[in-house]
Symmetry: C2
């Protein structure tokens, strides 16, 4: 039985203010809930339908937290999906902990990427390319925003990240910083890069002048037509693809 207070609590997690107060967020849909159950995130509460429970009996046996069964209608009223016939998980946030970048690894740094859909898509791209170290400027969209979680398609469980002033991070990491600009070196004729950070800027302003000073090499995706720019998630994908191709060849 789902109490009125629990309903209220889960619904409060739609708002950043309450997520931060509670240090918890929610994950919805079959794929993402299964991925978070199999990750190192701590799941505090599972709200599931009968069919989900029957289908994933074995996975759920390993789960030690609170579990509540509800109807699909009630489940859908709790989350943001129009349709959800499986589950919602309430999950503890991870601490915002510093890590160093292991030698030979690529990282992605985001300078004020504001759109949650873009952030989620970039997390999925990072996971595809095996880039598991991400750093975000404090003004970047919130990792635990439901739209970020949704767009990441489960990949949010497989990346490490923290929010920090990026100048500080680059000063301490002491690795090359490759910044995406419209007037940099052609990505297609670039020399094999030393692993470091791929830095992407804000959707409309690009990389801030302060961080531009920390960029060791400016990179440009060559254009062959007349579009003025590419979406930041698209540009991130193309940079990751080229860097991985060059580094692994």
């Amino acid at each position: 039985m789902l109490s009125k207070n629990t309903v209220k609590f889960i619904k409060s997690l739609h708002q950043k203010k309450f997520r931060n107060e509670e240090n918890q967020f929610f994950v919805e849909g079959e794929k993402s809930v299964l991925e978070v159950l199999n990750s190192d995130f701590l799941v505090k509460l599972l709200v599931v339908t009968k069919p989900f429970q029957d289908l994933h009996f074995e996975t759920l046996q390993k789960y030690k937290g609170e579990l509540i069964e509800v109807t699909q209608n009630l489940l859908e009223s709790l989350g943001q999906y129009q349709s959800n016939d499986s589950a919602i998980a309430v999950v503890e946030m991870k601490p915002n902990s510093w890590f160093d970048l292991p030698k030979g690894e690529l990282a992605i740094a985001l300078d004020e990427v504001r759109d949650p859909g873009n952030l989620g898509t970039i997390i999925r791209i990072a996971d595809w390319y095996g880039i598991s170290h991400l750093v975000f400027s404090p003004q970047t969209a919130e990792f635990y925003n439901p739209k970020v979680i949704q767009a990441s398609m489960g990949s949010f469980t497989r990346v490490k990240f923290f929010y920090e002033d990026l100048s500080t991070v680059f000063d301490r990491w002491k690795v090359p910083v490759y910044g995406a600009f419209l007037e940099g070196e052609n990505l297609h004729t670039f020399e094999k890069p030393i692993p470091g950070v791929i830095l992407m800027g804000n959707e409309s302003k690009g990389i801030s002048p302060e961080l531009e000073k920390k960029v060791t090499q400016k990179v440009t995706i060559p254009g062959f037509g007349q579009a003025e720019s590419l979406n930041v998630a698209i540009a991130t994908a193309i940079l990751c693809d080229n860097f991985k191709r060059m580094i692994t060849s």
Copy 2:
């Protein structure tokens, strides 16, 4: 003065049914309206604010159709943008006319890409890479959907396209068809391709079995992590980038 009937007419163009009946669609926002005015599309009606009119006096002198000045509030009530301080254009659709693929050109074919945001983003990517020939299966999202126009960021004015059964197109074009699959040849070690068609499939089902038979070479974006897939617009961007790199090198 904007008549009640004109208000009703513009608002009706939010719906596909009325767009098709009227053979017209609308374009909103400063950048897109300016691009459509400078394109080979026929603009039938311009609804503008005073500041837009003052700022783009010269461009508007060349415009011969109907022009109505309104307040920003009224303008915003007509379109789908939350904020629009510039203009809306009502534009005539182009006929759905067959074209052949010029020798040496790349084309993009979409097999049932359903999401308007994905279609608009793919049009912007095509324009960035100078790929101006697009073909869409009949079940692909509608080119004139306001969300497609918005996501294309003006690039919809610079591409040629038609909707047609793709098997018919491939049979008549007689060029290589490169299909994006999860089990194809590694894009990073691919041999320099002969220009042809890059075929992308539906968001969840991929390329249909019928069209798979027409694919002359299957291509895969190499993954290095654990994400199961990439969004179709992201994948299109990565294919275009690699094909352009290989063809122009």
